[in-house]
C-alpha cells in the first residue's frame, strides 16, 4: 500500500481540506503503519508541549554579574597583550625593513649613524635659533610667562598622551558601557 501523500500530510502540519481529511481518515482506517505514525507523532508532540520550561539554579543573575566582570577583565588583558605584541611586531617589521634597505644599498651602518647625528644636530640647531629669536624679540617679563605657558602646555600634552596609552592598554575600548 502506498503511504503518500498521507505520510507527508501527517508530518508537515498542513491544513487539510475536508475532502483531504476524509481521504486521510479512510487511509488511516486501512493502513496500520500510517495510523501508528499518526498516534506516535501526536503523543510525542504532546509530550514536548506538556513539558514545562526548566529554570537555572537560583542566583543566575548574580553569577552573570560575576562572570561579566571576569570576562571584561579577561578582554582587557587580551587587548593589552594585543597592543604590546602589535607594537613589538611593528617595531620588528620597521627594523627589518631598515636592515633590508641597508643590506641592499651600499649605505653602511656608519653612514646611517652619521646621517642620524646630522639630523639630531640640525634639530638642536633649529631650537637654539628659535630660542635666540624669541629671547631677542620678546621683552624679558613676557618671555618668562611665555616660557612657562609653553612648558606647561607641552607637559599637559605629554601627560595626555601617556594617559591615552594607559587607557587603551589597560582599560580597553569601552563598548556598551557607561563611562566608568
Amino acid at each position: 500500500m502506498g503511504h503518500q501523500p498521507f505520510e507527508t500530510w501527517l508530518l508537515e502540519e498542513q491544513d487539510l481540506s475536508p475532502a483531504q481529511r476524509q481521504e486521510l481518515n479512510a487511509h488511516l482506517d486501512a493502513c496500520p503503519q500510517c495510523y501508528q505514525l499518526k498516534e506516535s507523532l501526536e503523543a510525542a508532540v504532546q509530550m514536548l508541549k506538556a513539558t514545562p520550561f526548566i529554570s537555572p539554579r537560583p542566583g543566575f543573575t548574580e553569577r552573570w554579574k560575576i562572570s561579566q566582570a571576569e570576562r571584561r577583565s579577561h578582554q582587557h588583558r587580551r587587548q593589552t597583550r594585543l597592543f604590546f605584541l602589535s607594537s613589538i611586531a611593528g617595531a620588528v617589521v620597521c627594523l627589518s625593513g631598515l636592515y633590508a634597505i641597508l643590506r641592499m644599498s651600499n649605505f653602511s651602518i656608519a653612514d646611517l649613524l652619521v646621517f642620524l647625528a646630522r639630523v639630531a644636530t640640525g634639530i638642536i640647531g633649529f631650537f637654539n635659533q628659535a630660542q635666540v629669536f624669541l629671547l631677542v624679540n620678546l621683552s624679558s617679563p613676557l618671555s618668562i610667562v611665555f616660557w612657562i605657558l609653553i612648558s606647561s602646555g607641552f607637559c599637559l600634552l605629554v601627560l595626555g598622551w601617556i594617559y591615552m596609552l594607559w587607557r587603551i592598554s589597560f582599560r580597553g575600548v569601552l563598548k556598551n558601557e557607561k563611562s566608568e
Binding site: 508530518l11 501508528q36 506516535s40 503523543a43 508532540v45 526548566i54 537555572p56 553569577r63 557607561k178
Partner: protein
C-alpha cells in the same frame, strides 16, 4: 515567554548595566531552557546561557529594534548550542545526567518528582537521535511556538529548509516514540481514535 518593559530594554541598549541585569533576570529561564534542551546537561546549559547573555551584551549595538528582543536572544543561544554540538560531535545525551535539581518543580512530593524524572528521561530519549539543527528547529517550534518564518530567521535558514527539517525531525520523533513504547502503541485499536 515573558516580555521585558520597553523602558528597561531601552536603558539596557543605551549601556545601563543594571538594566541589562534585569534583562538577564527576565530572560534567564527561556534562554537556559533552550540551552538545556539542546545540550542535555545542566552544567553545560548554564555555561551556554551565560555565554549567550555575554554575546548579546557585546552585540547590543547590532540589535535590530524591529525584532522582538527575546527572539534575538534565543537566536544567539541556538546558534551557540549548535556550534557547541558540532565541536563536540556529540549527538546523544547521557540519560543518567537528568538530575532532580533540573526539574521544573522540585517539590518534596516523591510521586511527582519520579513522574517528572520519567518524563524528562523520555524526552531526552526522544531528542537524542536528532542532529543539532533539527533539534533546534523542534525545540523552537514546540516549546517556544515559533512560526516557520521565525525559526528561519533565528537559525539563518530558508523557510523551505525549516519545513524539510521539521518533516525529518517529526518523523524521527514518531519513530523513536514508537520504538520506546511498542506494547502500548502497537496493541491499540486504531479505529477508536477521537482525533479522526
Amino acid at each position: 515567554m515573558r516580555q521585558i518593559e520597553q523602558q528597561v530594554l531601552q536603558r539596557a541598549l543605551a549601556g545601563d548595566e543594571e538594566a541589562y541585569a534585569l534583562v538577564v533576570e527576565v530572560y534567564q529561564t527561556p534562554v537556559y531552557n533552550l540551552c538545556y534542551r539542546m545540550l542535555g546537561e545542566s552544567g553545560e546549559a548554564e555555561d551556554a546561557a551565560q555565554e549567550t547573555f555575554w554575546r548579546a551584551y557585546q552585540a547590543l549595538n547590532r540589535y535590530d529594534r524591529q525584532r522582538p528582543f527575546g527572539t534575538w536572544l534565543l537566536s544567539i543561544a541556538a546558534h551557540f548550542c549548535i556550534d557547541q554540538q558540532r565541536k563536540r560531535r556529540l549527538h546523544t545525551f547521557e540519560l543518567d545526567e537528568v538530575a532532580e535539581e533540573t526539574l521544573p518543580d522540585p517539590t518534596p512530593n516523591p510521586e511527582k518528582v519520579i513522574g517528572q524524572l520519567e518524563q524528562e528521561r523520555a524526552l531526552h530519549h526522544l531528542l537524542a537521535g536528532l542532529n543539532s539543527q533539527d533539534r533546534a528547529v523542534l525545540v523552537l517550534r514546540y516549546w517556544y511556538e515559533f512560526s516557520e518564518e521565525e525559526i528561519s530567521q533565528s537559525l539563518s535558514l530558508t523557510v523551505s529548509a525549516v519545513k524539510s527539517r521539521l518533516h525529518r525531525a517529526r518523523l524521527l520523533l514518531a519513530q523513536r516514540y514508537q520504538a520506546a513504547q511498542p506494547q502500548t502503541v502497537v496493541g491499540r485499536n486504531h479505529y477508536g481514535s477521537p482525533a479522526f
